[in-house]
């Protein structure tokens, strides 16, 4: 068994395509998970338990079941219900939905850390609910949870290879296509493995720095 540099060179065009798709999934997936997570988090604090209870059960269910199965669920079941999305769109929605249940917990912790006096002050000024949330509570909550959200973006990065299972052309799928045509498994798989470490490690250092700066 020898390492073949020409196989690495041949893989490069596909590799960069894969990196591009992976980053695209990551950006859109993060946006979905950040917004939907916020919706869940506000749902956790809804005034009536007819909202709180279903939100708790649904997020708990999504969070404790495998992303891979959810991915297949959306990919195979949505068309049956007459909703037709591309594999890339389905995958991005699945990953965003899955991680929204994690970011929801982060938001929850951040919101709970806002002193009760802030809620009371908003009430005393008789601010409407949406002003209380968006002008008083969230600006204070979000600053200190930014690092925790960053950690979930890194976790999401490491879950993007799952999308290869429904044929999304991200990094892993590109390496599988390469192997299928050249019968070289070692080089493409090793290249993407190293690429993941090269992206994830500096990213986690960045999050740690943010953590030191923002959370005191």
């Amino acid at each position: 068994m020898t390492w073949d540099w020409s196989a690495v060179a041949d893989f490069m065009p596909r590799f960069w395509d894969g990196v591009f798709i992976t980053l695209q999934i990551l950006v859109l997936g993060s946006l979905i998970s950040f917004t939907l997570g916020l919706v869940w988090a506000i749902g956790f604090r809804a005034p009536t338990r007819f909202v709180r209870w279903p939100v708790n059960v649904v997020t708990e269910f999504i969070r404790t079941t495998p992303l891979l199965v959810q991915l297949f669920f959306l990919y195979f079941v949505l068309p049956e219900w007459g909703v037709q999305f591309s594999a890339l769109t389905t995958g991005t929605i699945a990953i965003g939905l899955h991680y929204s249940t994690y970011t929801a917990q982060v938001y929850r912790a951040g919101i709970e850390a806002v002193p009760a006096g802030q809620w009371e002050a908003a009430k005393a000024l008789s601010l409407p609910a949406h002003r209380t949330w968006f002008a008083v509570i969230l600006p204070q909550a979000i600053r200190r949870i930014t690092p925790a959200l960053g950690n979930y973006v890194i976790a999401m990065l490491k879950d993007t290879p799952l999308l290869a299972a429904i044929g999304v052309l991200e990094m892993l799928q590109q390496s599988r296509l390469e192997s299928a045509s050249t019968f070289q498994y070692t080089e493409p798989l090793t290249v993407i493995g190293i690429a993941f470490i090269l992206i994830a490690y500096p990213a986690s250092l960045l999050v740690r720095t943010l953590e030191r700066r923002l959370v005191r």
């Binding site: 079941t65 976790a155 498994y185």
Partner: protein, 242 residues
């Protein structure tokens, strides 16, 4: 879905998933304690190696590691891993790296005076670890380990991509046979949910037991705390590993 599919695929699938969970959890625990304790070692070389291990395996995607062990290791070393063991190795090694951080954090959270007391009694480092530090650190580790175990359970679904006949693989076959995606995938999601529920409940019981062993009473429990218990756990484990 017919009874035949249920008996031939889904039930054995559940059994394989449970086996995978048990084996890889055992490996991950062993790795977590070895690497985690090594990260508090007095020698700088040992600390560096353990730190290097954690960073590599936490930076790597578990699925890619699994593919790598399955496709790259055989030509490299000249022997082929059974898919099941490639999967257990990949899951155990990568979740063990997350676990090592939990072990390290819990060991560091034991009051420094406890360590000093051990030194004053001229305990050997190993005696200090075994008799003073670990008994106090282990109850602290259980809530984050519980989350990690649920993550590991979810991670076992990845093995279906190597063709191991777990719950996810069974779901895939049943879907091919019946063409009823909604039904089989809902069933398999519920199966995972129930398994995760059993895991969190047993870990909660274990936490109460180990805490009681060192004289801390844990309030709560019972049916009302079912959902509250796990969410509280998740927020305290902070933004670290998912």
């Amino acid at each position: 879905m017919t009874a035949g599919l249920w008996q031939n695929w889904v039930l054995p699938g559940i059994w394989i998933t449970i086996q995978l969970l048990v084996y890889s959890a055992a490996l991950a625990t062993a790795v977590a304690f070895t690497v985690g304790i090594a990260r508090t070692h007095s020698s700088r070389v040992v600390r560096f190696l353990a730190g290097f291990y954690t960073e590599i395996f936490r930076g790597m995607s578990a699925l890619i590691l699994m593919f790598w062990l399955f496709f790259v290791v055989p030509p490299l070393l000249g022997w082929q891993l059974v898919p099941m063991w490639a999967a257990v190795l990949a899951l155990g090694l990568s979740y063990g790296a997350y676990g090592a951080e939990i072990v390290r954090g819990a060991l560091n959270s034991v009051a420094p005076a406890q360590r000093e007391a051990g030194v004053a009694l001229s305990f050997t480092p190993w005696q200090r670890m075994r008799l003073i530090l670990l008994p106090q650190a282990v109850p602290e580790m259980i809530p984050p380990f519980c989350n990690l175990l649920v993550e590991l359970l979810k991670g076992t679904a990845l093995v279906s991509l190597l063709g191991v006949g777990d719950v996810s693989f069974a779901a895939y076959l049943v879907r091919l046979a019946t063409q009823e995606s909604a039904q089989i995938y809902t069933i398999s999601l519920v199966i995972y949910f129930v398994l995760a529920f059993v895991v969190t409940r047993s870990m909660k019981a274990l936490e109460r037991k180990t805490k009681r062993n060192i004289g801390i009473e844990v309030p709560g429990g019972g049916l009302g705390a079912l959902f509250a218990a796990r969410t509280a756990v998740t927020t305290t484990s902070g933004g670290g590993e998912k």
